[in-house]
């Protein structure tokens, strides 16, 4: 059983006499939760993420219970003397994969984000967006238990942005926790379990109500299950927007588009499996 990642009275300042960037932060990140970190520029969001990822040690207080962590920085340099796949293979082995499975995961990850054509391209020749795809791939390829995304969507093309949202949904569905910062308020809107606001060196935590109206695109799934039954247990953690039983045993389920694959997988993999009647994107009213 995975423990919470806990921050107890954590403070961080740079230098011996620098001003406190963060002070007296108490936070627990439970497995399987998605946390959004908000705050104006320069309030310490990145510092909080670096503390969570374990890159920086807190100046005071303590952080306990860190699972296997992966981190995507806000700007990823391409000044590395490797090809994309060469770098990813190295990072995969650093994350604990064997060399063969790291290479396989590297190719699969690049393909997933539409960068398979750049697998053998030297990193120095990659565009900003393509090197951001490499940064995202290095974090996802070893299936981490805790994923920290510092504006990871910046610079990605539209397909890759949606793919990253789906990857986040997948990670949380298998019990990994994800923390992210993004300046686009519609990013994974309605999905986060927790929203943390960084202001004046403190972190204000509030749990998001799953009923709040989601702003982003949504997917409608019509599925049939046992009569009078409930949705399978696998869907328990999903941020369902609406759920209505249209006829006996037939349900119309609306989820944020990022979570449609996870929902379908949960329905089809449940025992006994549900039958999916129709899948479509919700018409904008």
């Amino acid at each position: 059983m995975q423990r919470d990642l806990r921050l107890d009275n954590v403070g961080r300042r740079y230098g011996l006499r620098g001003p406190w960037v963060l002070r007296a932060v108490n936070l627990a990140i439970a497995p399987g939760t998605l946390t959004r970190v908000e705050g104006a520029n320069g309030t310490g969001k990145s510092t909080l993420l670096r503390l969570l990822a374990g890159i920086d040690a807190p100046t005071e207080g303590r952080i306990t219970g860190r699972p296997r962590t992966a981190y995507v920085p806000e700007r990823f340099p391409s000044a590395l003397p490797f090809t994309a796949v060469g770098y990813l293979t190295h990072l995969g082995t650093v994350h604990g994969l064997s060399r063969a499975s790291a290479t396989r995961a590297a190719h699969a990850c690049l393909e997933r984000f539409g960068a398979a054509a750049y697998a053998r391209t030297p990193m120095a020749q990659l565009s900003k967006g393509s090197s951001q795809k490499v940064a995202v791939a290095q974090a996802l390829l070893a299936e981490p238990e805790f994923l920290v995304l510092d504006e990871a969507w910046t610079g990605l093309d539209e397909d890759a942005r949606a793919e990253l949202e789906r990857a986040v949904a997948e990670r949380t569905a298998v019990g990994a926790s994800v923390v992210f910062v993004d300046h686009d308020p519609s990013r994974l809107a309605g999905v986060p379990d927790v929203i943390c606001t960084v202001r004046d060196g403190g972190v204000n935590r509030r749990t998001e109500h799953p009923t709040s109206p989601a702003a982003g695109p949504r997917t409608v799934v019509v599925a049939q299950g046992p009569r009078g039954g409930a949705l399978p247990a696998e869907t328990a953690g999903l941020p369902l927007t609406t759920l209505e039983e249209t006829t006996a045993g037939t349900y119309r389920i609306t989820v944020p588009a990022s979570h449609s694959d996870v929902l379908l997988r949960a329905l089809l993999m449940s025992r006994p499996p549900w039958h999916v009647v129709a899948v479509g994107s919700e018409e904008t009213p």
């Binding site: 230098g15 990822a53 890159i55 040690a57 920085p73 190295h90 994350h95």
Partner: protein
């Protein structure tokens, strides 16, 4: 740690930044060592010249990885190990270079004492030279680790500090490097091969402490 070591080694080899210190070392040796000179003197010179080269290699290895890429590695394995890996790679590179040079110098030098009166056996002399080179590689790694990020961040301060400290560690009494090198030089005068085990132990301890300090600070200072 093996994966991390391979990653950092590949980074150093492919970056080609190892080339300038290697060339500098070759120039040092070309100037100071000629075939037919007394073996222990030449080995002392070979070892002493390795110290600044090792320090420079540490600087290259530590600054080779962009901060964001180091962040990715730090999140996976912890910042301490992420910093230990480049230090170990630099030490290995310096020790390998020193060993190659020592073997070469052992082969081309004259196996006699400085006054050419006493014969100095080639093999023990070479072994002693290897130990002295290792002492200098270790101490150079310590100098490099203490004069680069995370201890000194600005290049303008770090490079003069590194050069000065490297020079001082070769000449100041009490330094293991100076003890190892002067052991070879005095041994050359008397025609006896020294065994610099005490300097080696001292250098190993000091380097371990310097490495531990640098690794501990790597999560506490900003990039």
């Amino acid at each position: 740690m093996t994966a991390l070591f391979r990653y950092q080694t590949d980074l150093l080899v492919r970056s080609q930044r190892w080339l300038p210190p290697f060339i500098l070392y070759a120039v040092f040796l070309a100037v100071g060592v000629q075939s037919g000179q007394p073996i222990l003197d030449s080995l002392g010179y070979t070892a002493a010249a390795l110290l600044p080269v090792a320090a420079w290699l540490v600087r290259i290895c530590v600054t080779n990885e962009p901060a964001a890429a180091r962040g990715c590695v730090s999140a996976a394995v912890g910042p301490g190990r992420a910093h230990l890996a480049p230090l170990l790679v630099a030490l290995t590179a310096a020790a390998t270079l020193g060993a190659l040079a020592t073997v070469l110098v052992t082969l081309i030098s004259d196996p006699t004492s400085a006054d050419r009166q006493t014969a100095v056996p080639r093999l023990p002399a070479g072994a002693s030279g290897l130990l002295a080179a290792l002492v200098c590689a270790l101490l150079g790694t310590a100098v490099g680790a203490l004069t680069t990020w995370p201890l000194l961040r600005s290049t303008g301060r770090a490079i003069p500090a590194m050069l000065l400290t490297a020079l001082l560690s070769v000449v100041v009494t009490g330094s293991p490097a100076r003890a190892a090198v002067s052991g070879l030089v005095t041994g050359s005068r008397s025609g006896t091969v020294p065994l610099p085990l005490l300097p080696l132990a001292g250098a190993a301890l000091f380097t371990a402490a310097a490495t531990a300090l640098a690794c501990a600070l790597s999560s506490r200072r900003s990039p």
